[in-house]
Symmetry: C2
Subunit: 393 residues, 2 copies
């Protein structure tokens, strides 16, 4: 068995994925990365290492009419050749108009993941496989670094994470059907978004594996368009960094893995601390239970614990975390430490956080329609790192 397939199998084990009796959706654009993943999955099926239902999914972004059509045609043919089922989606021109304000890349990604998730839901699939490589990891790390990130943003792409609850969280909870609600509560039904190449494959490996299989792959013209920041990072910044360290891609990918481990541990310890905190809070104040928080207690804890506490407190009061961004949490933190009393922070839906008598109070106000209209735009499937320079909440 080729090393590429062996590596995929090893990673499959590490990620604790099922080997049989499940369905996976494989996102295939027609480029070398996604084709190599499809080819390797095919080989593992043929060798009876995997006994899974595999459905290829291709999404036509409909951005470059002729090119997009050729890509789609190509994927249809190759899927057919390997006897895979195909789920084919095409971007609704109306949705482009609706999302006009966001940037092109981000809107395309949102539409693509919407299609993939719907496909996986319809098939009751265990997960979606995407062919992100070490290179994608290094590029995402650098994008987030340049934009300004802390630990979470630099953790970059996760090799596996649950997807469905995020998608559903875009709908308001009231509009969910009973079945949808029960899916949120049942962790087993969550769709896993899996990147089985992320931890080991470089772009040259995927290209070589396609060549080895004598399979042509498509080149996306956008991959050479220097108007995109990611392309400039790939074509200009990374080659310069390679002059300092020839293994910079592996190095950055390893760094984001280390930081991801630290972030997970920190989140776990913050959650524990926040749980203890709110427990004490609730015991001591029966009357106005979650309505206020003591400033003194908030000042005494570590910043990330403080943020977890604030986030949980706001969630309890608001019923959800919708449209709440880091800048709002930071504004409340600023409020905690400001010397003047009687200040106020306004939250996205018009609710207020008030400081009074050494405590924080939450005040609910009517949701304004005009504000909640652009809610969809602030949510991406890949959560973008928050620019930490902003603090205008």
């Amino acid at each position: 068995m080729n090393q590429f397939c062996k590596n995929l199998l090893t990673e499959w084990r590490k990620l604790n994925l099922p080997f049989a009796d499940e369905t996976f959706v494989v996102a295939v654009s027609g480029g070398a990365d996604s084709l190599s993943l499809m080819l390797a999955v095919n080989e593992l099926k043929e060798r009876r290492k995997l006994d899974l239902r595999i459905v290829i999914a291709h999404f036509n972004h409909n951005l470059r009419a002729a090119e997009s059509e050729l890509d789609a045609q190509f994927v249809k043919e190759i899927t057919n050749k390997f006897n895979f089922e195909l789920a084919y989606g095409i971007q609704n021109p109306e949705s482009k108009i609706q999302n006009q304000t966001g940037n092109l890349e981000q809107n395309a990604r949102i539409a693509r993941y919407e299609f993939l998730t719907e496909t996986a839901q319809n098939l009751d699939a265990y997960g979606i496989l995407t062919a992100h490589t070490l290179n994608d990891q290094a590029e995402t790390f650098l994008l987030n670094l340049i934009r300004g990130s802390g630990l979470d943003g630099l953790s970059a792409i996760k090799p596996i994470r649950s997807l469905e609850s995020r998608v559903l969280s875009q709908k308001s909870e009231e509009s969910l059907s009973y079945e949808e609600k029960s899916k949120i509560r049942n962790p087993k039904s969550k769709i896993q978004l899996v990147r089985p190449l992320l931890n080991w494959a470089k772009r040259e490996d995927t290209e070589n594996f396609c060549r080895l299989n004598k399979i042509e792959f498509r080149h996306d013209a956008m991959n050479n368009d220097l108007a995109f920041k990611r392309v400039r990072i790939r074509k200009i910044l990374i080659p310069l960094l390679q002059e300092f360290n020839p293994k910079i891609i592996e190095t950055l990918a390893k760094t984001s893995e280390l930081l991801r481990g630290s972030a997970e541990q920190l989140a776990a310890s913050s959650r524990r601390a926040a749980e203890n905190f709110s427990l004490e809070e609730r015991e001591s104040k029966v009357e106005d239970e979650i309505k206020n928080l003591s400033l003194k207690d908030l000042k005494d804890v570590f910043p990330s614990i403080r943020r977890t506490i604030l986030r949980e407190w706001l969630k309890d009061n608001r019923g959800n975390l919708r449209r709440l961004e880091l800048k709002h949490i930071e504004a409340v933190e600023k409020l905690i430490f400001s010397r003047k009393s009687g200040k106020v922070v306004e939250l996205p839906d018009g609710e207020l956080v008030l400081k009074k008598n050494g405590k924080l109070y939450f005040q609910k106000t009517k949701v304004e329609k005009s504000q909640s209209a652009n809610y969809n735009q602030s949510l991406g499937f890949e959560k973008p790192a928050q620019p930490h320079s902003e603090n205008n909440g």
Copy 2:
């Protein structure tokens, strides 16, 4: 009062430094950064904001004979002009030979900090001020990133940290006098290494403040020598990153500040967990107290907690942490997770860690002279990030 002085005073408060009745050593090379610090401290003294004994310290690295002599002459004159005391040190040519194997920059830095620390010790000073700026922070961050770092390396330069115990740790503990030993145990006597410009001043600010005071500053020829990685980062990499984000220096400095906060919190929670862990260990095994660790327990904890536990365990067994590097800890971790039994990891002084019957055992062996000879080289004052790709312990 000029904004530069105001910022320094604000930072002085934030760092909780004393305003009177203490001595500070200010490291001055003659460049814009250190001169601006000296000028601002002078102004704050004149305005009676600070009532401290200030001693300027200049170290002549003796690397570029004529140049170095001119630098030293310049600092002597300007120190005299402002009526400051001066401590002057010159690099011993022999020590250069002794440290031949290390790199030039690192050896120069070690010698400089040795001189500064001795000066501060002789004066019973509260701390040493060095004029690192936001630019230095961003450069250090990028150096560590390129070399390969996790959370600790990317935390980059700390605005304040205790110095003395590190310096003394270079001597073997037996060779310490009683007075020296008591200093290690008395945290009040620790010298603080303080970077009061690090969090707010850019290089252009320090140059402008010198010009405002009509003070010429010296240019270090090494600052333009592209043979140094730091210079290439400053002159080539950062300008490219500025095309992506004009505020990249502030952004990277802010990122390292955020990561430093995360690292401190993580260290605190790891220490707590490790304390609980060893407490349980010790209670359950009275006989061979610290001689062995249970593999199962080690597997169940977070990686950074596991590393803290291993480090503490090895310290207990060896008596110190000398020459123990990340790669040794990583080798022991690998041992924990390897399926085969009976494996061994060798530590720097020839001691062994053995895996047997689901436990780790420590086995002391004779220290070999030839190995401990190059001990000095592995210790820098600025702890370099460990290359995480190495795992050859």
